[in-house]
């Protein structure tokens, strides 16, 4: 093999490794060994971008349970492997230091967070749901009758004190359960980003 200037430059980046591993300077072997990509041996799993509503396909490169690279899904009909700068940055979310990783509570009047367990967090919220639902329950209300216009009592079954916001940021199944949950509790006050 002829070592062109271009190949030599490529090679020189590897030469330290090559020397250290005792391969010597046989460029043919060094070149064959030298270009293993960090993605080699990773599993490629498709997903969907989480920014605009383009629904572009992502390809996640997973190695040993860790995300090591993220690219556009070349098989996806809409984006065909391309990604915008925001989508391309999505690999940074996986291990972002600022991610919240444990439930937290801020007590009334406090100026700081405290960590709490999931068990305690969910228990507190569930109890609060029941408390507010019971105390703000509106079984009926006076409304003008559609024919006479006079006020009549109608059953309305509303938990007036509970509101739920969300979400255009969660999956269909989550958005659906949020709606179902709020209706079963009796709150029509479920709104989200689509309104604005």
């Amino acid at each position: 093999m002829k070592v062109s200037r271009r190949n030599f430059l490529k090679l020189s980046g590897l030469s330290l490794t090559a020397l250290a591993t005792g391969l010597g300077l046989d460029p043919e072997i060094a070149q064959a060994k030298g270009y293993a990509l960090k993605t080699e041996g990773s599993q490629k799993l498709p997903s969907i971008c989480h920014f605009c509503s383009g629904g572009c396909g992502l390809l996640l490169y997973i190695k040993g349970d860790r995300l090591i690279h993220l690219a556009g899904d070349p098989d996806h009909p809409a984006n065909g492997g391309t990604l915008c700068p925001k989508a391309a940055s999505l690999r940074h979310v996986a291990y972002a230091q600022e991610r919240v990783t444990k439930p937290r509570r801020r007590a009334p009047g406090s100026d700081k967070w405290e960590e709490i367990s999931w068990e305690d967090a969910l228990d507190k919220v569930a109890r609060k749901i029941r408390e507010v639902r019971d105390s703000s329950w509106k079984g009926s209300e006076q409304l003008p009758d559609s024919k006479t216009g006079r006020p009549v009592s109608y059953a309305v079954n509303r938990a007036e004190g509970i509101a739920m916001l969300g979400s255009a940021e969660v999956d269909n199944e989550e958005s659906y359960l949020l709606k179902k949950f709020s209706q079963i509790l009796g709150t029509p006050y479920n709104e989200h980003q689509a309104r604005i």
């Binding site: 605009c52 383009g54 979310v93 439930p103 801020r106 703000s136 916001l165 709606k179 989200h192």
Partner: protein, 802 residues
């Protein structure tokens, strides 16, 4: 979107107005550029010379909030010069329908205005009906009673010159836009929040619908009206109805006076019986029976007069109505207009629960700079949420493609998918009510809720798609649902029926495109019934044959006697040919079966003789209505530098809603004090309220903070250089940012007077790796009366160099 991202390649002309898709929906440009390579023209109308504008053949700078004025001029141009598609207009719109004799428009108001109640009584907005209760149709477009005649009369006021004086776009340029757009077929319109965040939101989009119906562009490959939706699953969450006034699948939510299912059907038509009953079966299973009205009484009934849309919820919060807010994937403290309403409202809660990836502003409102935490008694629970690729589930993109993804990673740390949190919370609440005999607790105790010990997203999607309740088997297709009797099937969202009928179709990955039209029918699943281009019956002539030989979507096969095609036919019944009443319908979701140029009050199938038992009659399908008029009319934004040139006495939308339970919380500024127009927008490097992107260092490096974009003239006037700090103030708040002096904004004339627009990207707040002032300190929570969308895109401000 009526069409899809991949269909944009088929267009001959784009009107991109109210969208900066090159930055906010970059994938759009991939397909727009393919069309341009084949000769398509790009028209961009925007308050700023955006990155999208830089790709345009024609660019027009418009004053924010005045779109209806120039669109009205285009409609007039089409009518006066007979540029409409006559066959399409006659066969597929209500142009020939005779409008009620009492209908009138005068001095900015439609007939039936109730000044005290700030609403319309809409009885005069109907059709003249025959003895069979069907609309009377004229023989020709010349008939003075027709919708077409009303359209001509209404838009006769919208001359190019008048439009120039209102919008600031030169008349010659508006004419150039009109000529270019009308000459190219098929042509499409792309819009986003630039059109919807106004107090005239609905009527702006109605203007688009009128233009596209007149030109015969709806239902065609490369045509349609494409709303570029703003968030990863905002299409899906709208379908699932996280909205106070609807239920999944676009069913109206019941109101207080709906005592029974029958009352509900009197208001909403018998067409809603099957989907509502199927929903109640999905939610209450065997407990929902015909005898108990399918548990209709379990549903909460909202109060029509409260109108509890997003901004109003924060208004009610300020009043002290809510004690508990559960906030999932939403950062209101940055994203809601006039954010002092949010700040004050959250402090009135007993408990705020936030589920998010990051410690967003809303979760830590109690420690915003300037706030004393000791004074805030709200308990806050912050739950760590799993990210999109850490959980199974589906997202619906703007083109209605329901796309499934499996979890690729484990949730980080202890974070959990919201599905698991909601499931766990519900089961705990049910446990707390165990043993209760109070009737109010029955819905909680009797709900069908079983998604496994480790809740499965697929099981939820299967519930959404639906079951045959007799056999317990999944419903194979939408057609199976449609032919089943009410009460025998369940669907959580009827328009999604079939998505899991024959395997999980949302997970399909076959990317072949045999027609070359970008339909990709075997990739994921599009609702409804895998139809990729809505209203595609209208791409055929009266005989059911495609009018565009290069873009054949569907056709009637006279030999096999069936509708078939490259796309799924959007028809009432595939076996009903174009010679039948069903086979003629190109817009089957409208009661008339045709496109509505005039949004008339009308219900199909009203019985000729009312029920003998003195009950109110039930029709088949009522029309969707616009509360502020059957035709679009131009109104000034609530805060405007000028008064309405068409009718100064009714300057802004007469039905506008400005929720302000707490007096003074929504001050309205005057042009004497706040002479400049502010518009807000996004940038490609950041997303919405920035909760995610402001925590990604590479994006912060690319776009470190917000700025105020101003013209060179304005910079000179206030003595500011590029990069100087300026203070921008509205009647509601103020902020300091650096100014960007640019040619992208130019001084323009409004009714002869020099006018300036200031632009500020909005998605910043006090938290994250890259905090910055948020433009919603300045904006106003004035709402479109129909949609409840706030007027983020236009308000008045002043600016000075600091």
């Amino acid at each position: 979107m009526t069409n899809s991202w991949t269909d944009l390649q088929n267009s001959r002309c784009f009107l991109i107005a109210g969208s900066n898709c090159a930055e906010n929906h970059p994938i759009a440009m991939r397909w727009i550029n393919r069309a341009r390579d084949k000769g398509a023209k790009i028209i961009v109308v925007d308050p700023r010379f955006t990155r999208t504008a830089s790709q345009a053949d024609i660019f027009a700078q418009i004053r924010p909030g005045t779109d209806i004025a120039y669109l009205g001029a285009i409609i007039r141009h089409i009518l006066v010069n007979k540029l409409y598609d006559k066959d399409y207009v006659l066969n597929y719109t209500n142009a020939l329908y005779k409008v009620s004799k009492g209908y009138k428009f005068d001095a900015g108001l439609f007939s039936g205005f109730d000044a005290k109640g700030k609403k319309y009584s809409i009885d005069t907005w109907g059709y003249q009906l025959g003895p069979d209760n069907k609309p009377l149709k004229a023989d020709s477009l010349e008939d003075p009673d027709t919708v077409f005649a009303k359209l001509q009369e209404h838009f006769s006021r919208y001359t190019f010159d008048k439009a120039e004086k209102i919008t600031g776009i030169p008349a010659a340029k508006i004419k150039e836009i009109a000529d270019t757009f009308c000459q190219a077929k098929p042509a499409t319109i792309l819009y986003a929040l630039g059109m919807t965040q106004h107090t005239t939101a609905v009527q702006g989009i109605r203007s688009y619908a009128i233009i596209q119906l007149l030109l015969g562009n709806v239902g065609k490959a490369g045509g349609g009206i494409n709303a570029l939706r703003g968030e990863p699953n905002v299409q899906g969450s709208t379908d699932m109805a996280n909205l106070f006034n609807s239920l999944p699948g676009y069913l109206p939510a019941p109101i207080g006076t709906d005592k029974t299912l029958r009352d509900y059907l009197v208001r909403n038509g018998s067409i809603q019986e099957k989907p509502l009953v199927a929903l109640l079966k999905a939610w209450f299973g065997q407990s929902a029976t015909k005898e108990n009205d399918y548990c209709f009484n379990y549903l909460p009934k909202y109060n029509l007069s409260v109108n509890a849309s997003m901004v109003r919820i924060f208004d009610l919060m300020n009043k002290g109505q809510f004690k508990l807010l559960i906030n999932i994937g939403s950062n209101s403290l940055v994203s809601i207009p006039n954010r002092q309403m949010v700040r004050a409202g959250l402090a009135k809660l007993d408990m705020l629960v936030v589920s998010d990836l990051f410690e967003i502003e809303t979760a830590q409102f109690w420690r915003e700079p300037g706030v004393n935490p000791a004074e805030i008694k709200t308990e806050v629970i912050l739950l760590p949420a799993a990210f999109v690729y850490e959980k199974d589930g589906s997202l619906t993109n703007s083109g209605r493609w329901i796309q499934w993804k499996d979890a690729a990673l484990k949730p980080l740390g202890e974070s959990k998918p919201d599905l698991e949190v909601l499931d766990s919370l519900f089961r705990r609440v049910r446990q707390l009510y165990q043993g209760s005999t109070d009737p109010k607790d029955e819905p909680v105790l009797k709900a069908r809720w079983d998604y496994g010990q480790e809740p499965s997203a697929l099981k939820v999607l299967q519930e959404i798609s639906g079951y045959d309740e007799t056999t317990g088997k999944l419903l194979p297709t939408l057609a199976d649902y449609l032919k089943a009797p009410a009460g025998s099937v369940s669907t959580g969202c009827w328009i999604y029926t079939g998505v899991t009928g024959n395997g999980n179709l949302a997970a399909r990955r076959k990317n072949g495109d045999p027609s070359g039209l970008g339909l990709f029918k075997d990739w994921s699943y599009a609702w409804p019934a895998n139809i990729r281009i809505l209203y595609n019956r209208a791409s055929c002539d009266a005989n059911g044959q495609p009018v565009d030989p290069e873009r054949k979507l569907v056709w009637w096969d006279p030999v096999a006697r069936v509708w078939s095609g490259n796309d799924g036919p959007d028809v009432v019944d595939k076996t009903k040919g174009p010679d039948t009443p069903e086979g003629k319908q190109s817009f089957r979701m409208n009661p008339e079966g045709v496109g509505r140029l005039f949004a008339a009050k009308y219900t199909s199938g009203m019985p000729v003789t009312p029920p003998a038992d003195n009950l109110s009659p039930i029709g088949l399908r009522p029309a969707g209505l616009c509360v502020d008029g059957p035709l679009p009319e131009f109104y000034e934004p609530v805060e405007s530098p000028t008064s309405n040139l068409l009718h100064s006495e009714v300057s802004s939308n007469p039905l506008v809603v400005i929720p302000a339970t707490v007096p003074g919380i929504q001050k309205v500024g005057k042009p004497e004090d706040f002479p400049y127009v502010l518009t807000t927008y996004g940038v490609v490097e950041h997303f919405c309220a920035g909760g995610v992107t402001r925590n990604i260092p590479v994006l912060n490096e690319l776009m470190p903070g917000p700025f105020a974009e101003i013209s060179k003239n304005l910079a000179q006037k206030i003595g500011a250089q590029d990069g100087d700090t300026v203070e921008v103030a509205s009647a509601r708040g103020k902020l300091r940012v650096r100014c960007l002096v640019t040619d992208r904004l130019q001084t323009y004339k409004v009714n002869g007077k020099d006018t300036e627009t200031i632009g500020i990207p909005w998605g910043w707040g006090f938290a994250s790796l890259s905090p910055g002032p948020g433009a919603n300190e300045l904006t106003i929570g004035a709402l479109d009366p129909g949609a409840g969308t706030p007027e983020y895109k236009a308000c008045l401000v002043n600016i000075r160099r600091v």
